[in-house]
């Protein structure tokens, strides 16, 4: 029907044209500013209209006369009207403003202003008798007349917050439908007698942040229908034992932020419907609670207590079997009575964090068999015995961060097979079993070996030295393992073989890992099963020693080696650098050239076991499986006794440049027989015999010796065994006569093999001549035919 539609786009456009206001759609709302174009200043009115739902009116007025500048509108049916920062419209009803805007039958009115202009009266609420909800707030001290609410018989919800010091005795007399009464944050010092007695439906009573220091049971006369009371921040020091005795339907009470130094026993004796009690942030220390304060409460579910408690009576909760949640966090409890939770068979969550607990009796959790969530963080507990958690078969989350735990009994968690999350960071856990040798420790199972459901295990900042095999093989649902800031010193491939079905993330940063040993390949699983999950491991910030043992890990990180198992791992190594050796220090692992990864071999004292000859340096280079022996500039006249080549190495390099060698050992001498590469530049060799050349020789450097000739057997050997560019022969006084003909032919047909062929000189001529420039005829003219 025309004219009955809600405020919409057409009305908005028309308003901008025909009035001094400006209207624009904004999200699901229309925003109206009056007057328009008031850029950068606050307009007198800002209206936000959400059609059929709510209207918000904001004012910047000093004088109620300015309401005349509001444009007449036909906003229509509106559920909720919110008026903010506006003065009262003089002594006329607020309804007048709403009618001017065409707002019909609001159910809820919110009037919030610190700038009322006049005292509030009953007249201001004229023609609003259909209101179901009313909030009236002001920061000014406000005098409320006794008949203020006399016409609001339909009100079910009332919020009065206006620094009201004195509540008139009969203010609420007509509000027989009221269900919620919010009187928080006024200045009430006392309540008039019987003020709640004419509200049979009242259920929710909020009296927080007043000055109700001396409450008695008479203050709640007639309020037996009330189910929750909020008395927080009232500066209450004590309560009479019977103060709540008339609130027989009370289920929830908040006593937080008061000044209790003690509470009377039997305070809740008559409140047998009680479900939740909050006593948080008491402003003075309340070091204990009276005996049986929360005992015999058949409906009690939730207890939140934070008031500097030091001790608790053992019968505090007796017979209150339905309690599900208890928070005692942030108190000063140093221990707890063994029987405190004796009847709490339905407890689900217990928070004891941030206390001073040094010890819990073994029987403490004996009966809380349904406990799911246990928080013991920030205490001073030192041990976890085999009994303490043995009845907690439903436990899912255990937090023991920031304690002093050192000892965990090996079967401490044997019963807790439902555990999903364990957090024990910042303790002193090393998992070492005293009396057992360090070799055995690694073979043992950790105390977590039974926890097949475990999803996260946080052991950050402890003193753990090993990755235990039960973490690899038993924790098949593990998703997160935090081992950062521990004392793990090395990793082998087996440490990383997690059978977890999830994509596990292991944080092992800030340990002492110096070695990571990987294999080039691994045998295929016998059953052919291939793991599809990926292990991500953060290895950063460890003092890695970059030697030959790191080769496969480095090749893996560089992506140069991609074995079948590589796709199971993802390593975070962007901040993983070498701490040793000196020449690789601070180099990121992924930038280390794999040929630089070497391990030195020492020289044993016993000559028979000598690994590296005296005066020489020897090392293994895993990149090409080489044993390298360097005896530089030692004035050696003969090749020293050499170690034999290990089975797993293929190359043996002997570097003896710049000595004074006169000859070579027999080709089959132990050690020397394995040499594949002879570096003999700068010695005194005058001739080479084939029985002095190791059988597997692939490289020979004899530059700068005293060689004059090479006989045909040596040349035959070289022809058979030496690969490309493997010979260095320059710097020798070659004699180029007829006997050198085989050598010359050899150099001509082995151009590729001799790296320095161009520099070989014949020294027997008047002028040294390059051998490469000579032909056989030049050095050995054929006999002229007769």
């Amino acid at each position: 029907q025309a004219g009955e539609t809600a405020f919409g786009r057409d009305e908005c456009n028309e308003l901008s044209v025909s009035s001094p206001c400006q209207c624009a759609p904004s999200m699901a709302e229309y925003e109206i500013y009056c007057p328009a174009n008031a850029y950068n200043v606050f307009p007198k009115f800002r209206l936000a209209i959400r059609p059929n739902s709510n209207v918000q009116i904001e004012c910047n007025l000093t004088d109620a006369n300015e309401y005349k500048q509001l444009p007449p509108l036909r906003i229509g049916e509106i559920e909720r009207v919110q008026i903010q920062r506006c003065p009262l419209p003089g002594h006329t009803p607020i309804a007048g403003i709403l009618e001017h805007l065409g707002i019909r039958s609001p159910k809820m009115l919110i009037f919030e202003s610190d700038n009322l202009g006049v005292n509030i009266t009953r007249r201001h609420l004229d023609r609003l008798q259909n209101l179901k909800r009313l909030r009236f707030t002001s920061r000014r001290f406000t005098y409320i007349p006794a008949d203020f609410l006399a016409d609001l018989r339909n009100l079910s919800w009332l919020d009065l917050r206006a620094n009201i010091v004195e509540l008139p005795a009969h203010l609420f007399d007509n509000l027989e439908n009221l269900e919620s009464l919010e009187l928080g944050s006024n200045g009430l010092k006392h309540l008039p007698h019987g003020v709640f007695s004419r509200m049979p439906k009242l259920r929710h009573l909020n009296l927080w942040s007043n000055q109700l220091h001396n409450l008695t049971k008479h203050d709640f006369e007639g309020a037996s229908s009330v189910v929750d009371v909020d008395l927080h921040a009232n500066g209450i020091e004590q309560l009479p034992r019977d103060v709540f005795s008339l609130l027989t339907n009370l289920t929830e009470i908040n006593l937080s932020a008061n000044h209790f130094r003690s509470l009377p026993g039997g305070l809740f004796e008559h409140n047998k419907q009680l479900r939740q009690v909050r006593l948080l942030n008491n402003r003075v220390p309340l070091s204990t609670l009276p005996a049986r304060l929360f005992a015999n409460q058949p409906e009690l579910r939730v207890l939140l207590l934070r008031c500097d408690l030091e001790t608790l009576p053992s019968d505090l909760l007796e017979q209150s079997t339905e309690i599900t949640n208890i928070s005692l966090r942030d108190n000063y409890l140093s221990t707890l009575p063994a029987k405190l939770l004796e009847h709490q068979t339905n407890l689900l969550s217990l928070d004891l964090s941030n206390n001073k607990l040094t010890y819990l009796p073994d029987a403490f959790f004996e009966h809380t068999t349904k406990l799911v969530d246990l928080n013991l963080a920030e205490n001073m507990l030192t041990d976890i015995s085999s009994d303490i958690f043995s009845k907690l078969e439903k436990l899912e989350t255990l937090n023991m961060n920031n304690n002093l735990v050192k000892n965990i009994a090996s079967n401490a968690f044997a019963a807790n097979t439902a555990l999903l999350h364990i957090s024990m960071e910042h303790n002193l856990i090393d998992l070492q079993q005293p009396l057992l040798g360090s070799i055995l420790q690694e073979q043992l199972n950790s105390p977590f070996s039974h926890l097949a459901s475990l999803q996260s295990l946080n052991l950050r900042n402890n003193s753990i030295m090993f990755i235990y095999r039960d973490w690899n093989f038993n924790l098949i649902n593990l998703q997160e393992l935090d081992l950062s800031y521990n004392n793990i010193s090395s990793l082998i491939y087996e440490d990383l073989q997690f059978l977890s079905k999830s994509n596990l993330f292991v944080n092992i940063t800030h340990n002492q890992i110096s070695r990571i040993n990987f294999y080039p390949q691994l045998p295929v699983m016998p059953d052919g099963e291939v793991s599809t999950s990926v292990l991500r491991m953060d290895l950063n910030d460890n003092p890695l020693v970059c030697d030959c043992t790191l080769l496969w890990f480095v090749q893996l990180v560089r992506g140069a080696h991609v074995p079948d198992y590589a796709k199971q791992f993802k390593f975070d190594t962007d901040r993983l650098t070498c701490s040793q050796p000196h020449n690789l220090q601070d180099l990121p692992v992924r930038l280390v050239p794999p040929k630089e990864l070497i391990c030195s071999i020492g020289s044993a004292e016993e000559p028979g076991q000598r690994q590296c000859p005296r005066g020489c340096r020897c090392w293994v280079r895993t990149f090409d499986k080489a044993l390298v022996i360097k005896c530089h500039e030692g004035n050696l006249t003969k090749v020293p006794e050499l170690p034999t080549l290990y089975d797993n190495l293929h190359i043996m390099e002997l570097h003896m440049d710049n000595n004074t060698l006169l000859g070579l050992p027999a080709a089959h001498s132990p050690g020397y027989a394995n040499v594949t590469s002879l570096h003999l530049a700068g010695n005194n060799l005058t001739h080479i015999d084939v029985d002095r050349l190791p059988p597997n020789l692939k490289h020979l450097d004899v530059r700068r010796n005293h060689l004059q000739a090479l006989n045909t057997t040596v040349l035959g050997f070289l022809n058979r065994t030496m690969p490309r560019r493997s010979l260095m022969l320059s710097g020798n006084p070659w004699i180029c006569n007829c006997e050198a003909k085989p050598l010359l032919l050899f150099t001509q047909s082995n151009y590729e093999r001799i790296g320095d062929r161009g520099e070989m000189l014949c020294m027997d001529a008047e002028m040294p001549t390059r051998m490469a420039e000579l032909s056989t005829n030049d050095i050995c003219p054929e006999e002229k035919g007769v």
Partner: protein, 112 residues
């Protein structure tokens, strides 16, 4: 629990704020220098902002926080790109710059 205090379909914020459109002619950049913003009759850049009504004042409903925590209302900002007038070595030109804009008012706990 404030929702139960006020019933369903109602929300109350711990800090009171006001919203308005702003057509700034100059603004503060993220480097704390001021710059002119293009805003004239032909080219308008309106921004909806939200400002604390009582910045640095105690939050509403905050009386049961722990001791030594002072709940106060704090103005928060976002960076918004706006066309602005740059002065590069005497030459004026228009470019996009980000400016600090009041975005909302939140209750924060100050540790005393």
């Amino acid at each position: 629990d404030i929702s139960s205090r006020l019933g369903p379909n109602d929300e109350v914020f711990l800090c009171r704020s006001r919203r308005r459109y702003l057509y700034p002619k100059s603004g503060l950049k993220s480097d704390n220098t001021w710059q002119f913003i293009v805003n004239n009759d032909e080219f308008k850049q309106g921004i909806l902002i939200e400002e604390c009504e009582n910045e640095e004042m105690p939050c509403d409903y905050s009386l049961s926080f722990p001791q030594r925590y002072k709940p106060i209302c704090k103005q928060h900002y976002v960076l918004r790109m706006l066309a602005s007038i740059r002065n590069t070595s005497g030459e004026l030109d228009v470019g996009q710059e980000s400016f600090k804009i009041p975005s909302c008012c939140k209750c924060v706990l100050k540790v005393l």
